[in-house]
Symmetry: C2
DNA sequence: TTGAAAGCGCTAACAG
DNA sequence: CTGTTAGCGCTTTCAA
């Protein structure tokens, strides 16, 4: 009876009706630390004690209070919560990444705390600030460009031992890495250059890159920069054109087609690379409506390998990217880091240009 | 100096290097409770004190420890964490729902704790058990079918004041509601009946429903039951056929086509309704490869209104569903319940059958 | 308007 | 192998 205040007092203060360790302990005729031990290191509990505890656990329907657990064990790495900041979940390219994260985290005792940033670094910072309150054990952010405030938060998290992983980006040029965080992705400038090379090799000499109209879709812009730079390096004309912002990306692609035509409604470029397959498909459909011949009058090259592009006529040439794998690899890397207490390893993941019938 | 143990002791125990309320208080020359008050009810703090606290807050870069906050304020409803259990995130139909949830929760001080159940009630229960450890303020689950264990957990959560919302389902027949939870969605049997009616009105008399091969995709099965029942009620032949389980749904649809043909490779049905647009599109493409005339030899009707179906030739007739709206409505309902301390209101959301060119 | 004391549920550290 | 003690960082309650 010397142990802790009376049950009445506790229950009064407690607004939730859930059993606590103390309740289980009382039912099992031991103290709470024994129950706690049974839960965390069962081999250190005598067999007959374990039996009683197990029964009490079942009888009370005990569920651990993780807030209390994390608080008691010091916060750092203890929460096994993974905070993930993703530009847009509805966008299928990231949906699969989130799926990969969620699936791989599953069963490793990690929970996924998810927030959408809407391609805004300001929003990313705000979300990050809120999520940090939970002391996530690891943080996954998209891309390597962050606001100064976000950068400070990420560094702080990393310095207290939480792996920070930047996904979807991994520039070969290491001078472009800002925070020194683990990166799992690929080099977008390199993809852009490969897109230019592909079109040039098919004989095109008047190129355009139709960039995303989303201001902070940095990776799309970077592919565009690589594209234009490579073309010019090879003495080929290349221009960056920016897509309008429509509600839906396919629609934006449709609306972008006029920007790729001259005053007489004829193609102003012989080949166009797009920031993503949705834009490319929209443009392709609009081109067909105008009875333009793709690829003869104008070749189109997408990015992302979305389902739609595979089904259109002509099939869309595109760049296949490891959407799901980025999520699973990030989760594996952070789990390894958490469990091994080491730094998470970066990874450059493979992509490939898929020539189909639109180029 | 009588206040709290020396800073050395605390810092030693603390493995994270983050500033606490006590640190901020020390910097401001007040006690921690004053800082806490400033954060929660600033109007109850004197102006000059507030100034000092604000400065100290900025100087220390204080971030609240939400674990501690929730623990102290009793757990119930305090976490403002929303746990969401979704069958599959990669599947675009749910991706938009998650996006709606995330967006609407944003800025309301709620965090989204997400888990994928892979269309498995067993997995749902396991995930739910894990997430409950965080004392979520609200729980969003998909559909109304749950394991007994999950049901018990949900009831427990609800009884301690956390709204439980079932999304994507809302049967008109209230006897089919198991848990008495708030439902935001629509009646799938009704959709199935409408699909049958549509095909029958177009003159078809030999129908099939190509059901999802995923065993626990209950809503797809229910649409199928409604479909078959309505057809038979009207004296029309209707059979349920189950799609094979392929890695990708479009591929599953392609592989399902043979199940819809007779021994001579001719359509065994004049019209087929599908569990979703991916299956329907796959079947449509496979049919075209066999030079079958859609809709004349076989009419196809999808479900979900995915982007692909709008772009194929013929365009796919389908059922448009409020994917995004289910997410936003669920978030709004639970926010209202949390802030107003009332029960969340259920909602039956509208859907519509979109006749296009495949029927 | 501010503070002191107590406690949320759990775990680390040390005794026995 | 089990228990005692002392916190984790915050909020609640009561007192000044």
């Amino acid at each position: 009876m010397a142990a802790s205040p009376s049950l009445k007092t506790r229950a009064a203060r407690r607004s939730h009706g859930r059993a606590t360790l103390a309740d289980v302990a009382a039912a099992a005729g031991v103290t709470s630390i024994t129950v706690s031990r049974y839960l965390r290191e069962p081999h250190r509990v005598a067999d007959d004690t374990a039996q009683k505890v197990a029964q009490a656990l079942a009888a009370t329907g005990y569920l651990p209070n993780k807030q209390a657990g994390v608080l008691a064990s010091g916060g750092a790495g203890a929460s096994r919560m993974v905070a993930a900041l993703i530009p847009s979940i509805a966008n299928s390219i990231f949906a699969e990444t989130v799926q990969g994260l969620a699936e791989t985290l599953q069963g490793s005792g990690c929970e996924l705390l998810l927030a959408a940033t809407n391609y805004s670094t300001a929003r990313e910072e705000a979300q990050l600030r809120a999520l940090m309150g939970w002391f996530p054990s690891a943080i996954v952010v998209t891309g390597r460009r962050h606001s100064d405030g976000a950068l400070a938060l990420l560094r702080q998290a990393q310095s207290r031992g939480a792996p920070v992983i930047e996904i979807w980006d991994h520039p070969a040029d290491t001078s472009r890495q800002q925070g020194g965080f683990t990166q799992i992705g690929f080099d977008h400038a390199e993809v852009g250059r490969a897109m230019a090379v592909h079109l040039i090799e098919r004989g095109h000499r008047t190129l355009a890159y139709l960039d995303s109209g989303v201001a902070e879709d940095f990776r799309a812009h970077e592919r565009g920069q690589g594209f234009v730079a490579e073309a010019r390096r090879r003495g080929v004309t290349a221009r960056r054109v920016v897509a309008p912002l429509a509600g839906e990306a396919i629609q934006a692609g449709r609306e972008a087609l006029p920007l790729l035509l001259d005053g007489q409604g004829r193609p102003a470029f012989t080949a166009v690379a797009f920031a993503n397959d949705h834009l490319a498909c929209g443009a392709l459909l609009a081109a067909q409506a105008l009875r333009l011949d793709v690829p003869r009058q104008m070749a189109l090259l997408g990015f992302g390998d979305f389902a739609l592009g595979r089904q259109l006529q002509p099939t869309l040439s595109t760049v296949q990217v490891p959407r799901l794998q980025i999520g699973t690899a990030a989760a594996q890397a952070l789990l390894a880091a958490l469990d091994g207490n080491t730094a998470a390893a970066g990874q450059r993941l493979p992509w490939s240009l898929l020539p189909r019938n639109s180029t």
